[in-house]
Assembly symmetry: C2
Homo-oligomer: 380 residues x 2
């Protein structure tokens, strides 16, 4: 397996009601990543695309070929990769496989989602079981609320236990010009007094509906020896599909297993991880992801937010440029934004949000409620 | 890049109105392929799934994880791969990459589609351009009819020029118990007198709407030295997305390029190909695919059907167990049926449809009107 490096990234500003069309957004991100990589478009061997909702919201399938054409890459290998809300990470995974095996020297993983012009609740719920969960009213929001309620009951968490996740995310989005909430100051009071979406989930416990596109250029490390950031490991794991089929709905078993395998593959200790771009689609999910990864004991994840350990100067910084909560969560594009943020941190170009000389960045993406888990590890 | 072998295949009978649910169909095909491979389910590293229409027809996304769970494989890597009507081949491509690079020792490519209970015309048309083709009334059928009319006009083909494609496909489906039309005798008169769907396309020029699921187990050749069939090459190419953006709508440029690259990669001459499982979703598409592959000159593809060259004892046998036309075209599963048919031919287990000792089988799948082209080459 060849070593794989990141040689360029592109991110469009996350917005609500982007004026551009879906294909324009996707192609713009691809072109930006190609320009950042300093390569010729003709050098691109393949484009793998992540998207979740265009079937319903734009009545468009076959997006990889469409966006390849729109970006001036007609002729390249172009396929879509999917894992519901982790579809961007699925595209990254396939691009990694293509470069690692030598099928491509240069491959682009891109993601795009334009979801704010309609209410995407029902298409999003197709990440859950259409026969056994959705008919009972389950949505991504309601399932997350259900888990949060169970967590609060099981661990008797204090009122406002999760407030720190949104405060941290919004603080970190300050100065990130690509974040949806780049200029919004959010206090604990704002979070705790925000309206309930599905109790106990409040507005600020949820990532926003928004539009965006991002792309990453992967290449064989030996062909680009000066590219600073390598992908140390790429890993995919699944859990039982239905929440109620799991032994303990409060344990993200696949997430834990995926992290353990990723670190073992790379020969990296958990303590060596400098920051963790996790799937903070909901504050409870961020909390459970920290526990699954072993950064906190079961029932203790919220304390990392409460005591500042997730801050940029904390023990395990998360969502360092805003995360899904404050940068935004344009579903199929999200993982490619995460990669862009990790590369920015590792190369010291994260501006106002820069961590002090990080060497190892960990990233995780969840399809559904951590049903499909993709973990990637990056290093200088 | 490691050599990749096929160690097992599974096919459910193609039907209309399958009694089983989508997940049951998919899981049954996966289990059948695992049993055929003689491996333990716990040995499976990854499952890649092809499907095109479940978003709309079953309100279900996230199918790879769902079917992994249903098949008792919860825990494995599971992702969907897509390229519209070639989504099954996209799953095969990703499984090939995973095994070739060493990320998986054993990977399953599976496909499932349940599309006959509703009218799938509009979801299928999402393979085309939703902004610039579909608003003008384009569907997969109408675009194919448009190309056929242009072909007839350009090359002044005789009446009934395409009849031989359906006759051949139906003859080859005889004795294939998994074919939708396994017991249907079809004459040239039947074909030529069938009703127009969109002129000049008649009913028998079109593959049928149907349900099915198929799966293939891929593995590293060095771990399974006795597995008889190897994948010699795997290739993906794209064309301009919109038909009218192409230099010549009668030339499937990407299809030709993909075949040329595939044969060059494998070091195989075109003349060494013993049979060609092509994407005969429409008779005109089969004709153009034969021309693109170099088996006929432009404007002459239909003659291979007219003079029997595509028959099982002809110069270049196609659709040897019924093809998309007579086995059926359950979209996301189709390519995995093609692989199963190729393996059956190469291993001498094709029964009534057996070719005389074939050594090299070529396979091609089209997303949209040969917009995304996937070519795979198999050998004993």
């Amino acid at each position: 397996m060849r070593s794989v490096s990141i040689i360029g990234t592109g991110q469009l500003p996350v917005k609500k009601r982007h004026e551009a069309t879906l294909r324009q957004l996707g192609a713009a991100a691809v072109r930006e990543a190609i320009a950042a990589a300093g390569i010729d478009p003709a050098d691109v061997d393949a484009l793998y695309l992540g998207n979740m909702l265009a079937d319903e919201l734009q009545s468009q399938k076959h997006l990889a070929a469409l966006i390849a054409d729109e970006a001036g890459l007609a002729g390249v290998e172009a396929l879509e990769a999917r894992a519901a809300t982790a579809s961007g990470a699925a595209a990254l995974r396939v691009a990694f496989l293509a470069v690692a095996c030598g099928a491509a020297d240069i491959a682009i993983a891109a993601g795009v989602e334009k979801m704010s012009a309609q209410v995407p609740t029902q298409p999003l719920a197709k990440a859950l079981d259409a026969e056994k969960e959705v008919p009972d009213g389950a949505t991504m929001v309601s399932q997350s609320a259900r888990v949060m309620a169970l967590y609060n009951q099981t661990y008797r968490t204090p009122s406002g236990a999760f407030t720190g996740f949104a405060v941290n995310a919004h603080a970190n989005a300050q100065g990130n010009e690509n974040a949806l909430f780049s200029g919004k100051v959010v206090t604990a009071e704002d979070v705790f007094s925000s309206r309930f979406i599905v109790p106990p989930l409040r507005l600020f416990d949820c990532s926003p509906i928004c539009d965006g596109a991002a792309a990453v250029v992967l290449a064989a490390s030996d062909l680009f020896p000066r590219a600073p950031v390598k992908i140390l490991a790429s890993q995919v794991t699944t859990d039982r599909f239905r929440l109620l089929d799991r032994t303990d709905p409060l344990v993200l078993e696949a997430a834990g297993r995926s992290i353990a395998k990723t670190l073992a593959t790379a020969g990296i200790r958990r303590e060596a991880v400098d920051f963790f771009e996790l799937h903070d689609a909901f504050s409870i999910v961020a909390c459970l992801a920290l526990e699954a990864a072993g950064f906190a004991a079961p029932g203790q994840g919220w304390r990392l937010a409460a005591d500042g350990a997730i801050g940029r100067d904390g023990r395990i910084p998360i969502s360092t440029r805003g995360g899904l909560k404050a940068r935004g969560h344009p579903i199929g594009a999200t993982a490619l934004y995460q990669v862009g943020d990790i590369v920015a941190q590792l190369t010291g170009t994260a501006g106002a949000n820069q961590l002090p000389e990080p060497k190892i960045g960990l990233m995780q993406s969840f399809g559904g409620l951590a049903t499909t888990v993709l973990t990637h590890l990056f290093s200088l």
